[in-house]
Every structure is written in structure tokens, then in C-alpha cells.
């Protein structure tokens, strides 16, 4: 059992959890993830590790409550426990001194890009964070990101905060202003990562994306998470999750993320019925 020692609600659809997992806290690096199972009936789901405190033996996770498993997780209170949690899985993000690095994130990806921003800056890079949200109330971890990056740019789809637009608008503006990044890192919804990769391709800016493929075991055993990169099949869990954004077949990734849409919907309906519309607490 992995006890939740702190829980904060970030937005109406996202929570922040600090969970006791001393071994993972000690070993995790930026870009790695855990696989967890909330309860006996639960799925195994992958979640990016947002941060850790090796002394306290805790890791932090940010969960967007979109399906049954993530809703179940979001319902847990501080003091309660996650049944199973394993990691850190996946290759850590490659971190070197490149010069100027832009880290782009959309939605919940803001939490997931935070450890990358920290690691990249710690390696001596000028690190710019460009984060986007649909609206101001859905923007998360603004203060943490401001502290972690050399510069922070915020966009909202509806213009309620920061720049009205999307993260690629900011990246394009930087490029046009001559502040071309030496490397770009993007994490978020697939269309956003694809848009970033499409934007940087003509400029030959190395662009790394962290893929959120479906997984079961997370250790290479099942092949659920396979993606096509440069025409070759790769297992996201053991060969990723970071890949060259210019080589990823995003259309296939989007397609594969839809495999269980119908079943996910029926599972969620059943869950909501069982807890009587327990969406926000």
C-alpha cells in the first residue's frame, strides 16, 4: 500500500498527490513514470512522476480525472492509500547542456514537463517554459513553473489569462524574433505535440516528445504501448517515453488511444452511478 500524505485540488478536474514511495523517490529522474493500480478492480495506469522528496520518501503525481481509474484516484483522500505503485519506469529524459531550451506543455502536461524544466535548467541551459491551458481556471502549477524556468510564457485558448492563443504561437514568435531554441521538449495532448513537431521540423530544431500511449504492465511485457517511430515499432514503456517528435507517427498514436473509448465510457457511467455523481469534493 502506498499512502497519500498530501492531496490538493488544482482545478475542477485535476488533483495533486504526494505519495509515500521511498525507493521510487530515491531513484526517479526527470521523464520517468510510475504504473499504479488504485484498488483490487483497478486498471494499471501510467502516470508521469512530477517530483520527489527523497528525504521524506515521497513522490508527487498530478492526476487529470478523465476516466474511471483517474476518478477513483482523485477520490482518495490524504491518509488513504493506493494499492499498487511501481517505478520509476521508462528511460529518463536526456539532459545535456544545449544552450537555449524551450519546454512546451499543454493542460496536465504542465505538471509533467515541470521535472524536465528543472533538470534541463540544472544542466546549465537557458530554459523557457511555454505552457497552455484552455482557460485560466485550468492552468496549474504556475508558481512552481515560474520558479523552475528562466522564463515563463502562458497561453489560454479563451484569452482569460496570459496570451490568447496556443503554445506554438509563442514558439513561432520566439523563432521569428531570432530567439531560436537549440532544443524543444513538448508534452501534452497528441495534437499539441504534433503541432510543435510540425512547427520545428522546417527549422531543424531537435524536438523531443513524451508519449502517453496506453499501457498495461509498463515493463515491456505486453506491447500495448507500441508506437511507430521512424517507421519502426517501439514499445513506449521500455524504449521511451521520450522520442524524436519529427519521427513519431502521431496519427497512429491518436488511433490507438481510441481503442477502448466505448468501454471506457460504459465503465465511467457505471462508476458515476455507483458513487452518485461524486465528481467534485
Amino acid at each position: 500500500m502506498y499512502r497519500i500524505v498530501e492531496k490538493n485540488r488544482l482545478t475542477p478536474e485535476a488533483v495533486f498527490l504526494r505519495v509515500e514511495a521511498p525507493r521510487i523517490a530515491r531513484r526517479r529522474k526527470a521523464g520517468q513514470f510510475v504504473v499504479l493500480r488504485v484498488d483490487e478492480q483497478g486498471e494499471r495506469i501510467p502516470l508521469t512522476i512530477v517530483g520527489s522528496d527523497p528525504e521524506a520518501g515521497t513522490v508527487t503525481l498530478v492526476v487529470q480525472e478523465v476516466g474511471t481509474s483517474t476518478r477513483k484516484l482523485g477520490r482518495l483522500k490524504a491518509g488513504e492509500a493506493i494499492l499498487d505503485l511501481t517505478g520509476p519506469l521508462g528511460h529518463p529524459t536526456e539532459v545535456k547542456k544545449w544552450g537555449r531550451v524551450a519546454c512546451l506543455a499543454g493542460g496536465i502536461g504542465t505538471a509533467e514537463v515541470l521535472p524536465v524544466v528543472e533538470a534541463v535548467r540544472a544542466a546549465g541551459n537557458t530554459t523557457l517554459a511555454i505552457v497552455g491551458a484552455r482557460s485560466r481556471e485550468l492552468l496549474i502549477l504556475e508558481e512552481e513553473m515560474r520558479a523552475a524556468a528562466d522564463g515563463l510564457y502562458i497561453t489560454t485558448d479563451d484569452g482569460s489569462y496570459g496570451r490568447h492563443g496556443v503554445v506554438t504561437d509563442v514558439l513561432l514568435a520566439l523563432i521569428n524574433d531570432g530567439a531560436v531554441p537549440d532544443r524543444v521538449y513538448a508534452i501534452g495532448p497528441v495534437p499539441m505535440m504534433k503541432a510543435v513537431a510540425d512547427l520545428t521540423r522546417p527549422y531543424n530544431i531537435p524536438t523531443v516528445v513524451s508519449l502517453n500511449a496506453l499501457m498495461v504492465d509498463g515493463t515491456g511485457m505486453c506491447g500495448c504501448c507500441r508506437v511507430t517511430v521512424g517507421g519502426e515499432t517501439k514499445f513506449t514503456c521500455v524504449e521511451g517515453p521520450d522520442f524524436d517528435g519529427h519521427q513519431v507517427d502521431f496519427a497512429e498514436l491518436v488511433q490507438r488511444q481510441k481503442i477502448y473509448l466505448g468501454q471506457e465510457k460504459s465503465s465511467l457511467e457505471k462508476f458515476e452511478e455507483s458513487c452518485g455523481g461524486c465528481r467534485i469534493r
Partner: protein, 465 residues
Amino acid sequence: MKTPRQKMAEQDPQVRISNFNEVPSGFTPEQAQKEAARCLQCKNAPCRSGCPVEIDIPAFILAIKEGDFAAAREKLLETNSLPAVCGRVCPQEDQCEKVCVLAKKGEPVAIGTLERFAADWEGEEPPSPPAAGPEKAKVAVIGAGPAGLTAAADLARMGYRVTIFEALHQPGGVLVYGIPEFRLPKSIVFAEVEKVKKMGVKLELNQVVGATLSLEELFESGFQAVFVGTGAGLPRFMGIPGENLNGAYSANEYLTRVNLMKAYRFPEYDTPVIRGKKVGVIGGGNVAMDSARTALRLGAEEVSIVYRRSRAEAPARIEEVHHAEQEGVVFRFLTLPLRYLDDGKGWMEGMECQKMELGEPDDSGRRRPVPIEGSEFTIDCDLAVVAIGNDPNPLLPRALPELKLGWKGTIETDPETGATSIPGVFAGGDIATGAATVIEAMGAGKKAARGIDRYLSRYTISPRG
């Protein structure tokens, strides 16, 4: 008149294809005693040499014949820590029963079914193993599959303090994620694991050694030897077009969803699985049979096994092929998938195949399948399950660059002791041999336990520095 070989009662094929309950129900005590009486109690007992875990077969059969079922169970547990598993999934026809003297003229003694009977016998609790003498060294076992459980139990029996580190949330390895409930009920596996734990073996779940903790940390925290039994957990694909379409699974994924994650009970359990109407399973081994029979139980209307060689070359147990046929699985031998067909929306709608014929024998000694030009045809299917084998799991070897690897990333070991290129690190099972059987992995676990014992005996007496 000679007594014929006794047969277990089985669920009717038409009934069992709509449930996940075990197919055969085991011998009754009367049947078991009748079958045990067929054993000739040969002095030289060729059957024993056919058993990778060295069971004293005549002795346990004699105990059954005499009606002392608890003694029979004890005899099994002396050398085999998972007899209820072996009695169900061992290919006895290729091992002990193959060399049974009775097999020369007729039918061999049903050793496997007798093993199952004795292992399942619920009499008085088996006595706890004798308390170990002065406590011996700490040994870490990585992976709670057949090899790891066997090594752990044998080491505990020798007095070592053993901790098993398992990556998944349940122990059992392939016994829980791979082999379906209808062939090996999970309650049987967990009961066997409980027995191993009662011997003093500790079990830590959710621990990926190489990720959650390093081998170095294990040695630093006082473990003096490590057994690696991490299995062949990296599914192979054919590399043909359409293999990533929605509706294409590795057998590992399909079976893991259904067995480990209990997707057959969705939505009571949260993990979903695609329930294909027309299912094509690629491969001719036991895993292919398990996948095909699982598809039937998940409501498929039509399930075919697509295998590039002929029936004679199929590596599946005869019993498994027979069960699959009884249940209505269609066998398409000498058929090779060339590509999977997209319905235009990213989902599988069929596979284009080519007919094959058998040519000259290949390296495996089996006749090589050769394509017949112009024989292409299409099989309709909305789900394809690729069951063509696994490569060794890369996680632990990757974390240990100094570990010497062999063919396809297997760990190189001394087959007699399991010793690897790193002192104190032993390995066995599929991670060392490539995909093989449960019993071969158990045999390797047994040998490695002895190898570790020899290593540690030397280690503890030879002063260092």
C-alpha cells in the same frame, strides 16, 4: 483384464466455452487409486530421469495406491514446490510419461493427473518445514514466476533467508498473467505461493529490480547472492504491415488483460479487452491455444489458429490442440499472414495470408515452410492475436551492463549452476534459455538454488581480505 488408463471428467465443450472454470475436474480418490495401481514400481524408475524437478515418482504413486494421500503430497513437496501447477501444465507426455515402461506397449501411467490429485489433496495441513538450523545468508530472488518460486523454496529449505522481488502486483509470473483460469485456476497458484511463503520466504510486490532498486543496493543491504528469473517478457511481432492496427494484440497483452487484470469480468473490473467476433490467432504453441480458447470464452463467433507449419510441427501439447478442436477452434495450418487489413477507420478487418508447403528440414529439425506463389487469400477477422513467442525482458540486463548476454539478450549462464558472468548473480528460466516451459524454468530454479548454495558455502568459509 488390465485396468485402462483412467481419465479425468471434463466440462462439456459446449458448456465450457461460455465460462472460465477449469476444464478437467481431477481424479476421484477411487480413480486415483485405480490408476496408481497400474504403476509397475520399476526399480530403475525411468520416469524419474524424465522429471526436471526430480520427483520420486514411484514413491508418491505408491502412497496413493495405499490410500495415504497426505504422504503422497508430502513426497511431491520434498522436491517440487508447485506440484498443483505442474500436475496441470507440465507436458508429461514429453517427460515422465514418455519414458514410462507402460508406454512401450500401451498407455503410460497418468503421472501428471496423479500429481495433480495428490497436490490438490486437502487433508491435514502439511507439516511446516523443519526450522532451519543456524541462519544462513540472505538471498534475493528476482521474479516470482516458476523459476523464482522454485529457487526461493529450495533455498528456504536449505536454511537461507530469501526475499522475492516481483515487478507485477501479483506473484506467479506467467502462471497468473499468461496461463488462463480455465487451464490453471489462479486460486491454485496463490495457494502454492502461500506454501512457499510459509517456508519463510518474503515476497515484495511492485519491485522492478533495475528500476525500483538496483542490484548494487541489494548487495549493499546484505543479500549475498541473487537469482534472476525475470522471464521472457518482451513479445515478438512479425513486423508485417497493419500490426499496430486497433484489433491487433500480442498474446501477452491479450492474456494479461484477461487473466491478470480480469478483463473477462469487465466492467466489474476496470480493465477492458477487445471482444472480437472473428478472431485469428497467429502461432502453433500453447500460448496460441490459450489465446484461441480465451477468445471463444469472450464470445467470439469464429476463432482460427493460423500457423505456418503443419499439425505435426505445432509445439502445443496434443491435449491443448485437442481441447481447442473440441471447443470449435478452426485450424488453418500451412498458412502465413502477410499483412493485416484496415477497415478504413484504423481497425482490423482481416488478414491477407499465403498458403505454405513443407520443404527441407531447417535448423530446428522441423520441415521448413515454403510459400506457394499465387496462393494469397484473405481471412476475415476483427481481432488478431500474435502468439509467436517472446524475447527476454530487457529491463534488468539493461541496468547491468557488465552482465554477459547471449542470443537475443538472454543472460549467459552455466546450465548446471545458473552462474552468470557476475559473481554471486545467478539466473535461470526463460531469461537464460529464451521462451520454454514452466517445468524447464522450475528445473533451472532448482539447479540454481544448488549453485547458490555451493557458492555461498564457499563464500562463507573463505575469509575475505
